[in-house]
Amino acid sequence: MNEFQNEEETISTLSSLDSVIFLIDSRSSMFQPNEYYQTAFENSLKAARLVMSEKIVQGGSDQFSICFFGTNESKNPHNFPSIYIHQELDVPGIDDIQKLNDIQTDIDQNFISNIGHSTNDQLDFSQIFFTCSTIFNKNTVASKNIFGNRIFIFTCDDDPLKKDEKLLKKSVDKCKELTDVGIEIELFAFSGLEGNFDHNAFYEKIISQKEEETENQWREHFSEIEMTEIDNFNILLSKVRKRENKKATLGTIHLQLTPDIEIAVKVYSSIEHDKKAKQIYLDSKTKQEVETRTKFVEQLDYTEQLDGKKVVLRETQVGQCFEYGGSYILFNPHEISSIKRYGPLGLQIFGFKPLESLKLYHNVGFSNYLLPNENFLKGSTTLYSALYQKMIEKKVYAIALFKLRKNFGLRFVALVAKEEILDEESEQVSPAGIFVIKLPFTNEIRNIPIKKNVEKIDEQIVEVSKSIIKNMNFHFESTSFENPELQKLYHGLHQKAMKINLNQDLIQDVIFPDWEGLEKADDLFKEFVDLTGVSYQTEENRKRNREQQMQKKNTNKRFYKTERLENLKSQDRKNKDLIKLYTLKELKEFLKSVEVKFKSAERKMSLVEKVLEYFSNLETNNLNEQQNNN
């Protein structure tokens, strides 16, 4: 049941765990300020910190480690020189972020004097890689939940080995060992003092140690970095972010053209759910984390006869029933799951339709993105590519039946081919390929009768509307707006963790029109109002009206509230049922007013008990007083 309803949720929680080592070059060349007065070292550190803290507030459980190389001091299990493990591989906590912040705010004091630069400019990369593999290995023993291990190298030196053939061979061998176990190495290169960063000198030899199949893709990806040397911090940050988030596929399924002809496709989600840090409960005494367990209890009328013992059932001892015409139809768990698993797995193409017939409202749920999986089925890419090209050329989409996993519901989908979309900075907004748009069933589309308009559309009004639209035109991108709710939560958590008081107003809801631009078009709006007779209100007017309405409501409410509170005070004080009728808020307010303490997560029933207790105390007090008086 739950599996079925939370279809989308299950998808989002399936994203894999990652572990990343930030390998930061700490030789003096990294400390030269660039034209923005930023040093490469500072930028790398900042990027690492921001990416880490971002992941944390988003509730990710990725593991990070920070390791400096080319240092004066050394700290590593093998006592290699010039390698300093600053942070062991783990899910970072408050302290880790704080430490990085400290280093960054005062590099001279916290880094140079403590750790310092190495005097030797030549590095033994095989030792560095060996340290990395130890860091990863240590971790895999502790937990097996690791999918992607990656090393991010931040450096501005294109030839750290100084053309030593022996060292080069050693390093390349060691690197091959790493890539063989699936560890990926990414390079973030800064242009050094001497100008451009020469990838051929050393790094290409490490990073091109990839499997043959993906070599082509890799080279392209590699040249992408080559073109833009990362000097600007923001570019660096976005690049680290993009590399940090690993593409997690939801699985590989088959796309069936006919019963005999099928290809393998990987499914990705093209929209993600809101990512939030996990909200938890703690025991107020021990401050330890509390978990919620659900148990199934028989609703028996005769529980009291059984000495108040509840019959607790296991999950397998519970069946589901459907309320039906005053009776219950019983299903055992097997039956329900077999109904829900109904239908063939994968994607079956039913046929093709012209793109115009795909209406805007033909859209339920989040869409997915498909990519061919050549490893599973040879020839997939060719057919996928042909299908993609022809669907774009002929302006058609395919209707298909989609079932991603066994326990997911069936759905008709539209397979739409889309070309790549880039933003102004030529960063990818949406990749080229075939997208899965989920279509509603007939019962999910409502037929809303639309009355025919009495008056025909007046072309004059249309013209005015057109000029209004022209005035309010702006360039929108899917990346234009941030979610104010999430941003507020992220900042709030960050603040609490770092124990700093930022101005809360920094995070503002900015989803508003450009007021100044609107003022310029005021005449047009007035003309539109004159022609149509709709209402004209400036934003201030609206605000005032709203406030007035709210005040009215509030005064009513307040009156109502105080009345109810008064009632509560004069209530038949032992009547539990009557007190139950009050809302949680009202009970809390009442308890506050009589100075009875309660906890934030306290439940209504316990509040009711407290109110009762308060009244009974009051009564005994009164009685005592009376007795004393007597």
């Binding site: 079925f4 783990d90 970072p92 906590g93 392209e220 590989t252 006919t258 099928e262 393998a264 996990k278 938890i280 025991d283 401050k287 509390v290 367990r293 659900t294 199934f296 209890v297 028989e298 397998t316 001892q317 069946g319 459907f322 039906y324 055992n332 097997h334 077999s338 109904y342 239908g343 063939p344 797995l345 039913f350 046929g351 409202y361 490893n375 209707i399 080229a432 509603p440 019962n443 639309i450 025919k452 009495v454 008056e455 007046d458 009004i461 702006f474 899917s478 990346t479 234009s480 507020k488 809801d509 029109p513 078009a521 539109f528 109002v529 022609l531 007779g533 906890k599 997560a601 439940r603």
Partner: protein
Amino acid sequence: MELYQFIVDVGTNATKKSLQETKEAMCVLVHKLILFKQKKSSVGIVLVGTEESKNPYAENYPNISQISTIKAPSFELISEIQNIQLEEDREETDIISSLLVASALLLDCENVMKTKKKNLNVKKTIYLFTNGETEISDPEELDVIAQDINKYNIEFIFILLSKTPVEGNQNTKSATRLKTEHNLDNFTTYLNDSIILKYKKAMKTILKFEDKTKLLRSTFKGDLEIGPVGIPIVIYTKASKENFPTMKKYSLLSKEFTLVKSERSYHLINDPTIEIDPNDRIQGYKYGNDILQFEDENELEKLKLKGLNRTFKVIGFTKKSNIIRHHLIGGCDLILPMSPESNKNALGSMAKAMHKMKVIGITRVVKRRNLKCPSLCYLAPYKDPNSKSWVLLSGKLPFVENLPQYTFNDFRAQKTLQPNKTQLKVIDQFIDKFALESTNENNKNFNLDIENGIFNPVTQLFYSEILKKLDPNLENIKIIQNNIKKIITSPIQKEEESMKSENNKNKLLKEKGIEIEIEKENYDDDDDNNNNNEKEDINAQIRQKIIEDLKLNFNLKKSQTFERKRNPESLFAISENTDLKIPKRKKKNENPNEDKQEKEPFQKFTFNDLVKVKKEENSDNDDDNLDNEQFNNDESGSESEDLSDDEDNDNESLFDLIQ
């Protein structure tokens, strides 16, 4: 409100078979009413031809018994229907009197209802089930009677059950049946609102499940704010995702039926034996490895966005191409003007202007006060195809946080894997020939319109399983489940399978020396489509050729891992047994083969079952071959065995029945 009155013929000429058919039809009808219109409908049942005369108008109309007064459809009603039997003492059926009694009962009920609520809109329907073996008395007076009944606005549905075979010849109708058919035909011409349906045809529509009718309720009423301009609007939901029907839990342990409640308890993660009182908890957030405690409620409040007002505000307009279709978040709203008469169609003009300029609005939407977060929505012009008026559509857009943060490599980067010209040409033909046209009536397979008759197959299956639980002997369940299967089978597959089965059938028939033409004569319904069928055959052949081309040109090789991943076992697995069995828990070290055995309760449709269903559908005669005896699972000497030998895989043969 919808009122239904069923009239069941149990008179001297009724047969067991006719009663069985009546029961099935009524069962499915009531089942649908319970599922979809329980609170909006009432049903009553009248038997005609009984010895007793239990009805308020018995003085004038004897031998008619009201066994169930008009009441809300319920589980009991279904068992009442199942309990109807043919008594030994029966009387002659008087159809016309039964219609009059039923109408009178409906009117009485309507009057009672209207005393409670005056402006109630009542729809009255009478279903009459008869095998037509009893003559209608006084056929000359039918027009007079019809005139009387017409006053009451009642819809009549006459369902002619399968004919009773005349001795000697299976296919001819008895003289009385012909007469009754003629008389009923006459009667319908006099009546305002009536229809005669033959049982098979009627069942086709009756067996189609739909879904609940939903109330139209606006989700927002207020102004569409464009700068200082406020256009009054109402918002309705146009499309939204629906979930599986909600269910309750019951105990499999106790002998009596007991509902199960889920109770929550709170334990320390480090030591689960310690239970924590829910009131002793405080809230917190995970911050990486650490935990942030929020003991003060005010501190928690600071994390939330507050003071949002209800609003529907346009932020600006942007080019249509800036909205990425696959970035839309599910669901869609329809925006209508509050009162279409006033404001000189301000909303329509705005929508038309937007359409002409090819722009889409971006809006800030807060539908209710004190929501947690404003949503970002698009605003698109939409021309309603029925009323031809311009309105607006709106739906959610993602925020930056919802977009995946990674870049994909281009799949076209690997030049060696790109298609060549012939491969492209084949795909080109494939797309052309496999076009789905909703208007193409010639080709039943290749028209699919999601706005028409495509209901959620899983929910439909669930509803049919309920029906099966009510009466496992109902023969029509197979047909229902087949209809569901038809929906989710791709037309390409249907065609291929039907061609295969056609070939098989022809081969078989030839072997047995039966000429194929005899078979063809039996197709009653599809006579008109003969010409189209020929065209279709040619098209189908072309399609088959394209499929062959595809196979030739694209060399697709499966890897072993992929094969393992697919599980054909889940295809069309429907539970067959109705007994309650507690499933065993899987053990880790268990042999995978044993696993399969455990799952056996979910039998696949065996081939014999399929043949049975197929037969039922093929027989387009009025005569029904639904009898179990004829198609029992007897394995000896039937066609089914021969057929199943031809098929290697049971699973594949499933599609045989789809024609």
